[in-house]
């Protein structure tokens, strides 16, 4: 549980962080909350040559509404998102999801930007970002969520590119996120999100493939007047989840249907 040797630099601005990343090259990693990266390093599954710590960059943790958009800074901690009156008011599903991440220690440290950039299939925010057509903003550009989560732990981010914020549309209609897990502080075995927006439903699934999934077939069925239990049968259409010690592929597909139905039915 001892990481390999690495260099460490603390940036005080996004530009400085980008310069440091340039300087260290491909083997550098950005350190935000560190709650995925540090365990991987301790297991020596990740052995970056350098860490660029962005925690000292001021203003990167802001949460604000501009027009019909909710801006969540990359360094906004889960606990801040969970407790933010603005988030609870403008995009309550995001506050709900944040409250379901890990335990207090994880929520006090882990960040929006870290989760998004890490692109773990079991991450919860990516599902919300995907179904709501959020934009992932970096120091270089803005990338639509549907183009951002390309594969397991794979994003279009360049080596010297840093996520600065994620911009969600405001959505305060009926919503529910169900995170099915063995233990309170676990990642989702399967997660299901339902959000009513602009008169239609947005339905998403977590951890049923290498990337988050938007369940279009369910959305369409609901649009065409199907009842939740009928529509939810389509939640597993086209899914090909991999199995692990916690769940077989078949079980994950089944959970997708059950949880989707429950999320729609329980959305308030």
């Amino acid at each position: 549980m001892i990481p390999a040797a690495f260099e460490y630099a603390r940036a005080s601005s996004v530009d400085e962080a980008a310069k440091l990343l340039d300087q260290y090259g491909e083997d550098a990693k950005v350190l935000a909350g560190g709650h995925s990266l540090i365990p991987l390093m301790r297991l020596r599954l990740a052995q970056p040559k350098a860490l660029v710590d962005i925690n000292g960059i001021k203003g990167l943790d802001q949460i604000k509404v501009e027009g019909s958009k909710l801006h969540v800074g990359a360094l906004a901690r889960h606990v801040e998102i969970q407790n933010s009156e603005v988030v609870k008011d403008k995009l309550p599903i995001l506050a709900e999801v944040a409250g379901e991440v890990g335990d207090n220690q994880v929520r006090n440290m882990g960040t929006m930007g870290g989760v998004v950039a890490h692109a773990d299939a079991a991450g919860d925010y990516p599902t919300i970002a995907l179904i709501l057509d959020a934009e992932i903003v970096t120091n270089k550009r803005s990338i639509a969520a549907k183009d951002f989560f390309k594969d397991l732990f794979t994003t279009p981010l360049a080596a010297n590119e840093i996520v600065t914020e994620v911009v969600f549309p405001v959505a305060d209609g009926p919503h529910k996120y169900i995170k099915f897990r063995r233990r309170l502080f676990d990642w989702a075995i399967v997660g299901a999100a339902a959000q009513k927006m602009n008169g239609g439903w947005r339905i998403g699934l977590t951890n049923v493939g290498p990337t988050p999934v938007r369940a279009k077939a369910v959305e369409d069925a609901l649009q065409n007047g199907a009842k939740p239990e009928e529509a939810a049968q389509h939640a597993s259409d086209g899914l090909n989840p991999s199995g692990d010690l916690r769940a077989s592929p078949e079980y994950k597909k089944h959970l997708s249907r059950v949880l989707t139905r429950r999320a729609i039915e329980q959305a308030t």
């Binding site: 549980m1 001892i2 390999a4 040797a5 365990p39 297991l43 020596r44 335990d103 099915f180 063995r182 233990r183 309170l184 502080f185 676990d186 075995i189 010690l245 916690r246 769940a247 077989s248 079980y251 089944h254 959970l255 059950v258």
Partner: protein
């Protein structure tokens, strides 16, 4: 004895302020001047021949002091790790375990080399650069397959994989089955689990060459035991070895044996001339600290149609791993000897086969055989109840021995000291509102909801052990327990014991006993344990024995002190010895309580001139206590669950535990033991399982990301109560409680899950009862 004031008092643990404010002193808190850090290079393969170990590159790494392999250690180490072989009457094949692999690795994580470096980080980095070339050998993972003729072998030079094959006959089993109206069969699996103490193992060794002295600080439950085996392994006289187990962050049975790293750190210190420290990481802890359980039990039960239990056949297959655990066979023996549970059977027949596989050794884990026994017999009686459509509580009650039948001899000859099994069950049923709950269960079933009520009425064995009963199964260990009680001239008291406290709260409970027995203030009693330099030889702490054996030793020493003090007091009071009484710390002549000498005054007199003719000075006593029998705690746990049929998720709605551990020294500590024990039982029932890859023998649950230890979110609020049936085998009437919660819990939870799913025709559920497993079973049943 004095009027009891401290025994039974619900006082806070005196250790806690220190431990919870971070002022504990664990091995990793300690340093030695010139200390090097040891990192262990472990086998990346489960079974392979070592072709070469190349240390050239690693030797160049910064800070490296030395790199040693088996060849180096052979110069200072000999023999192997101990195994209680004599238990294995029909011993087959028990391979010797040298602390480090020489030519063949037989489990994933086995030590193959050690690196010493100036700093911990340097040692870890250099260890990665040691190049080991392996030639792969066939891997044996499935232990049922491993016992078959012609199986691949876990050790390439072994005859087969059979470590033992022993029968435990009790009564005429054929006759019992002939009489049966119904028989049921089931396979009950006890999956491997990690004991997972909060503090992983840690060792610091300092060998001083000119004096030929070794001091070893180690996170162990058994400092004296470790010393004996280091003496054998290193060829250093026992008198020249000091083993210190300071604060230890839990053991749960996984720290009650000598470990390879203790030998390797000590030998490395001898080879390098420097103090050496090794700190186990959590990943290493999962690979290289012994695992618990790892059994298959095939059971067959015979009963009459009125619910009278007749016969029980149990075949136990034990997955030993690559080397038979130090107490590996003991667990199978206990599981069989206690398989009758708290029921009257006409006959019980057990057979156990110990099997070698390419995995880490299994050894005791909280309960060590008794959770296995309780689980199988509590499942057995539920299977009969389900078959006969009888209420499982009624069936149990029908087969309990009555209070008047104690001491009760079970079908395998074990003599239970005292008990009132119906009383704990009555109480638990009242607490849970059993009749109402059964009604609610049938109402909910009509709504498609699946409530389950699970009972576990257990009996267990504590107080190991009477030497007469255990020596033939323990490898001729007497398992006595020791104490020295010393009253200082000013009246305060030091007690040194052979047991070791690593979470049990002995500093508190032992002081409570002494305060009462000597009539001195509780705060004036100091308990010493864990350092072989200032404690008498003892077998250590495990098997819920510290109170029932060690505590009685302390009490007996106190009685000896009182006897001597009484003679001194009589001399001071100018009275005959027999005329003096001892009452709450004061000695006085019968009928004249106003003229008294306190224990403190007597203690001072004991160290001054003017003692009775021929009496030596000082006021202290030593006792090595060998109990006349085991003690037999028991209880009734009831678990209520609801299973979500669509997801297979289990929700524990209620957990009732009524335990009887005899007389109680400190109720708060007893409750704490039940809480922790039940949590670990729930962990095994619903969450935990060690998984090795079938094809490669690699550990798939190698981190806490993959291994589900339950946390506060998974453990319900427990409702505890107790009955008190004193043990007649010891003067305090105590029994022991360290493992009871774990012993009872897994059966209560699984019986509840099976009960919930019984409308689907489901009769048995394996552990862990994970949602994916249950969903699959429900789906199959619905077809």
């Amino acid at each position: 004895m004095a009027v009891t004031t401290m025994i039974g008092a619900k006082i806070h643990r005196r250790e806690d302020p220190r431990l919870v404010t971070g002022h504990g002193s664990y091995v990793d808190d300690m340093q030695q001047v010139g200390m090097a850090y040891m990192s262990v290079v472990r086998s990346s393969q489960a079974h392979a021949r070592i072709k070469s170990i190349d240390i050239t590159d690693a030797s160049k790494a910064p800070g490296v002091v030395a790199i040693y392999t088996a060849r180096d250690f052979k110069a200072v180490l000999s023999g192997g790790l101990p195994v209680t072989e004599s238990l294995i009457a029909d011993k087959k094949y028990v391979p010797n375990q040298f602390p480090i692999a020489e030519s063949e690795v037989v489990y994933f994580g086995e030590p193959v080399a050690v690196v010493l470096a100036d700093e911990r980080y340097q040692a870890a980095d250099a260890a990665e650069r040691v190049q080991v070339e392996y030639e792969l050998l066939p891997v044996v993972v499935d232990f049922e397959k491993a016992m078959q003729n012609g199986s691949e072998k876990a050790h390439s030079d072994g005859p087969d994989n059979i470590a033992w094959d022993v029968n435990f006959p009790g009564g005429d089993i054929d006759a019992a089955f002939k009489e049966a109206d119904v028989t049921v069969k089931e396979r009950i699996i006890q999956q491997r689990v990690f004991p997972m103490s909060m503090e992983p193992r840690t060792v610091m060794a300092n060998f001083v060459p000119f004096a030929n002295q070794l001091t070893l600080w180690t996170s162990t439950q058994v400092p004296h035991f470790v010393r004996i085996f280091l003496c054998f392994g290193l060829g250093i006289p026992e008198s020249q070895i000091r083993v210190i187990a300071p604060d230890v962050g839990g053991g749960f049975g996984s720290k009650l044996r000598p470990y390879p790293e203790e030998y390797l750190a000590a030998a490395s210190s001898k080879l390098s001339g420097r103090p050496v420290k090794w700190v186990e990481g959590r990943t290493e802890n999962l690979q290289a600290t012994t695992h618990g359980r790892g059994h298959i039990f095939d059971i067959e039960v015979a009963a009459k149609k009125d619910g009278t239990l007749l016969g029980l056949k149990v075949t136990n297959l034990s997955d030993n791993g690559a080397y038979v655990g130090v107490f590996g066979a003991l667990q199978s023996a206990l599981a069989l000897l206690l398989a009758p549970g708290c029921y009257k059977w006409k006959a019980v027949h057990g057979r156990t086969v110990g099997i070698l596989t390419n995995k880490m050794s299994t050894d005791p884990y909280r309960g060590a055989g008794r959770p296995e026994a309780a689980h199988l017999v509590e499942r057995a009686v539920d299977l009969v109840a389900q078959e006969l459509k009888m209420d499982p509580a009624d069936l149990r009650r029908k087969n309990f021995p009555s209070e008047a039948e104690f001491p009760f001899t079970n079908a395998l000859g074990m003599v239970y000291d005292s008990g009132n099994y119906a009383k704990t069950l009555d109480k638990a049923q009242q607490m849970v509102g059993y009749e109402d709950l059964r009604r609610r269960q049938s109402e909910l079933r009509k709504q498609g909801r699946y409530l389950g009520i699970g009972l576990s009425t257990y009996v267990e064995i504590c107080g190991v052990g009477p030497s007469a009963a255990t020596s033939h199964v323990s490898g001729n260990l007497s398992l006595v327990e020791s104490s020295v009680v010393r009253v200082h001239p000013t009246g305060s008291v030091t007690v040194a014991v052979g047991t070791h406290s690593h979470g049990q709260g002995h500093d508190t409970t032992f002081a409570q006993i002494v305060a009462d027995a000597l009539g001195v203030p509780y705060d004036s009693v100091e308990i010493h344990h864990g350092d072989t330099a200032d404690t008498p030889f003892g077998y250590g702490t495990y098997g819920s024995r510290s109170l029932a054996v060690g505590g009685i030793s302390i009490y007996t020493s106190c009685q000896k002190v009182v006897d001597k003090a009484k003679k001194i007091a009589a001399h001071m009071l100018e009275a005959a010895d027999d005329d003096v009484v001892f009452d709450q710390g004061r000695f006085h002549v019968k009928g004249s309580p106003e003229r008294a000498k306190t224990m403190g005054e007597v203690a001072l007199a004991a160290h001054l001139p003017g003692l009775p003719e021929g009496m030596e000075a000082g006021l202290e006593a030593v006792t090595y206590f060998d109990p006349p029998n085991f003690t037999w705690p028991f209880g009734a746990h009831i678990c209520v669950v609801e299973v979500d049929p669509d997801t297979g998720a289990v929700d524990i709605q209620k957990y009732i535990a009524v335990d009887d551990c005899g007389n109680i020294i400190n109720p708060m500590i007893v409750d704490g033991q039940i809480h922790g024990g039940v949590a670990q039982g729930i962990g095994q029932a619903l969450f935990e399982e060690v998984v090795y890859a079938e094809d490669t023998g690699q550990l798939r649950t190698g981190t806490l990301l993959d291994y589900n230890i339950p946390g506060m979110g998974e453990i319900p609020e427990l409702e505890l109560d107790r009955t008190i049936t004193p043990s007649p085998t010891n003067v305090l009437g105590v029994k022991g409680v360290g493992e009871a919660g774990t012993i009872a819990a897994s059966a209560a939870v699984i019986n509840a899950v099976v009960d919930a799913l019984s409308p689907f025709g489901i009769k048995h559920v394996d552990m862990p009862a994970s949602p994916d497993r249950l969903w699959k079973m429900i789906k199959e049943a619905r077809k």
